[in-house]
Symmetry: C2
Subunit: 413 residues, 2 copies
């Protein structure tokens, strides 16, 4: 069970207008009483966009939600239903029928039109959804929907698998036509047992944003947040990010976001996604350090991200951080095989401002002192300069520990 | 120190004609008396080809050897000199001068023309080569060159870093014009401390093969051997594979390899390289299992290798094997994000012939029995079918253990 303090509602959260939340327990997981069914419901039809796993093997709810957004042109959604404990992946035709049924049960429970829900799942793969439990969970959740921090915390808890705390981030944007609020929740990439490392995130907003505005905004925000997190480099079958906008922040005749309001919205969406992404890296299973990788001076942002990704996925880099070793060699050489061109003599590396490598050669630093610094700081920022280009990126990962190995291998015994 | 029995010469080794070997200690590493300087010398000029690290950050000896092969058109080489303990990487202009000096010292010690040696190094990066030790080591090795299994075992030992045993593989091909012999040595991708995971391999042969025959033969053999091994997915700054052919198997007027002899040679070269590659995976640090991944039914060989590589690099797959968990989900989903197209419903997976997943859905296997099988067998073969295409590949990796983490993080403390 998660620590109670880690799932408490926070009065400082900003709740988007016209959104209600709930999370109930239906026994999908072994641990009795654990919330595992979440509903997120809007009072008015919302526009929606989604970013889904790029894994060729993707779960039934991913297929169902992606098709729904495409078929409805990203319009007319009233909510999202998410269960944790069963991913409904690798479940064949029955899985597709179950995902659609889960979506329709949510519409019924919320009293909204058929087909107005999006659906996501996380948990064990290869097992059929226990539909009787799904039904009772959704019905229970339908009765406790509330536009409150408590409702939100229950929903955020219900989507957790092995996360140790709920992940919520909100933003409010002032605007003459009415403040716009974004309320985001996520669950982490941590995994255990036969569960996959599924990352789920939803942002609920009252912004009067069209589907055409939401789609590029979400893609860009995800590229700079969830795509800049690597816990173990495994893209799951169920990864899903949704944004739903019901427009209730402004009066119905106030129109959609104009260019300047859209810019502010995009910025806030990116911030919410970055908060949630960082929280996922910080809560990774068995991790001892949060590692922030800043890559600078690349030819473009994509090159910077490619290099950061390679470094973040290196087991040698992650074990060196665990051992508090300022091992510039592992970082520089991981950058070297990322497939991005740079000149060795332009490369420099610092950890928390301490130079380790400069212009292609190691710096004569005090290894003992730097190691002590690394051991004593749970959050470490490595800054890697590749040249003088404009491309940069901030990437989050964690170290790799014996505890990680134990959690990921000993669960069967 | 390595176990004595692990470095003993084997009388069954086939030694290529006209090749002499030696390995001596020059104190490059901390452990006194450990062999760390190897010479491989041919009685006649040899044609050569090399495959080098694709890491953008590559060591001085890589630059020197690559340039030498290009400048000389792959002709006129008399040997290879390799030191272990210092990689001569990230060492700037001084490192280039030192690598060239090491090569020239080897020519002098062997009494061969200037510029007739190739050079490689493995070990700590970012430190200048201790040239006085290099000089004395090469001089000592020059005096003990021998066309014998003992000479070969000394040389094979001298290139080891954290390997626990020497890696030698040889083949003999019968031919009416004279038997052709290939004698291969390698050191592993295992790493520790600030050393990089350098993989070095050399094949010495008496085949009358031209540079133009050796180049594609080596590329193809490496693609099917060393490129099918992943211990931790880190491409080092120093990875190098050489093949040198001095032609002494046949009389000088017998010409070069004809088509059928070349085919036999290519096959033998691939076999030697595969033996050495498998030995590297088996000897990986902290590994409990050798994992053989057979990918079948892909569109082509490249697709099969790409999928195998992704699965082999997955920390989730490697920890599941360590935990003796027949976790088909981690393997199938790692295949799914390799970027290779296949249909989920065509995918099947077996471990040592036991079906785990068939046509896109999990098989109802006896998890306890399969887990016991996995625990009790140090070598496990996973067979992954992606469809009905002709592309297949056999890939070697190992599991990921607490011991691996300890070796790769605790060395500084």
């Amino acid at each position: 069970m998660a620590d109670k303090s880690a799932v408490a509602a926070d009065d400082k959260w900003q709740l988007a207008k016209g959104w209600r939340f709930s999370g109930e327990a239906c026994g999908m997981r072994g641990d009795q009483g654990r919330r595992d069914m979440a509903l997120f419901v809007s009072d008015a039809p919302a526009n929606a966009a989604g970013v889904f796993t790029t894994n060729l093997v993707h779960a039934a709810p991913v297929k169902v939600s992606r098709a729904a957004i495409a078929e409805q042109g990203g319009r007319g959604f009233r909510g999202v239903v998410i269960c944790s404990g069963n991913a409904n992946a690798c479940t064949g035709a029955q899985g597709m029928a179950d995902a659609a049924a889960m979506r329709d049960l949510a519409s019924q429970a919320a009293g909204t039109p058929q087909g107005s829900f999006l659906v996501a799942s996380t948990g064990v793969i290869g097992r059929k959804l226990p539909m009787e439990r799904v039904r009772s969970g959704i019905q229970a959740a339908g009765k406790t929907l509330a536009p409150s921090p408590d409702g939100l915390s229950h929903a955020a808890e219900a989507i957790m698998t092995t996360d140790t705390r709920i992940k919520v981030s909100t933003r409010r944007i002032d605007h003459p036509k009415g403040a716009i609020t974004l309320t985001g929740v996520a669950k982490g990439a941590a995994m255990i047992g036969p569960n996959m490392a599924t990352m789920l995130a939803c942002v609920f907003t009252d912004a009067p944003a069209t589907h055409e505005q939401l789609r590029p905004a979400l893609k860009s925000a995800v590229d700079r947040s969830f795509h800049c997190v690597s816990v173990e480099g495994h893209t799951s079958t169920n990864d899903t990010v949704f944004v739903l906008a019901n427009g209730l922040a402004w009066r119905p005749d106030a129109g959609h976001l104009d260019a300047s309001a859209l810019q502010a919205f995009n910025q806030a969406l990116e911030e919410v996604c970055r908060d949630l992404a960082r929280a996922i890296a910080e809560d990774a299973e068995g991790a001892g350090h949060l590692v922030v990788l800043e890559v600078k001076g690349a030819a473009d942002e994509h090159s910077a991200r490619t290099v950061a990704h390679r470094v973040a996925e290196s087991a040698l880099v992650k074990t060196a951080v665990h051992g508090a070793d300022p091992n510039w060699g592992r970082i520089v050489s991981a950058a070297g095989y990322a497939g991005v061109k740079f000149h060795e003599e332009d490369v420099s590396l610092e950890v928390d401002g301490i130079p380790l490598f400069r212009n292609g050669e190691p710096v004569d630093f005090d290894a003992k002192a730097v190691s002590a610094h690394m051991r004593n700081n749970r959050r470490l920022t490595f800054s890697l300069t590749l040249g003088s280009g404009p491309g940069h990126c901030t990437f989050y990962t964690c170290d790799m520990t014996e505890e990680y190995i134990r959690l990921n291998s000993d669960y069967t015994t």
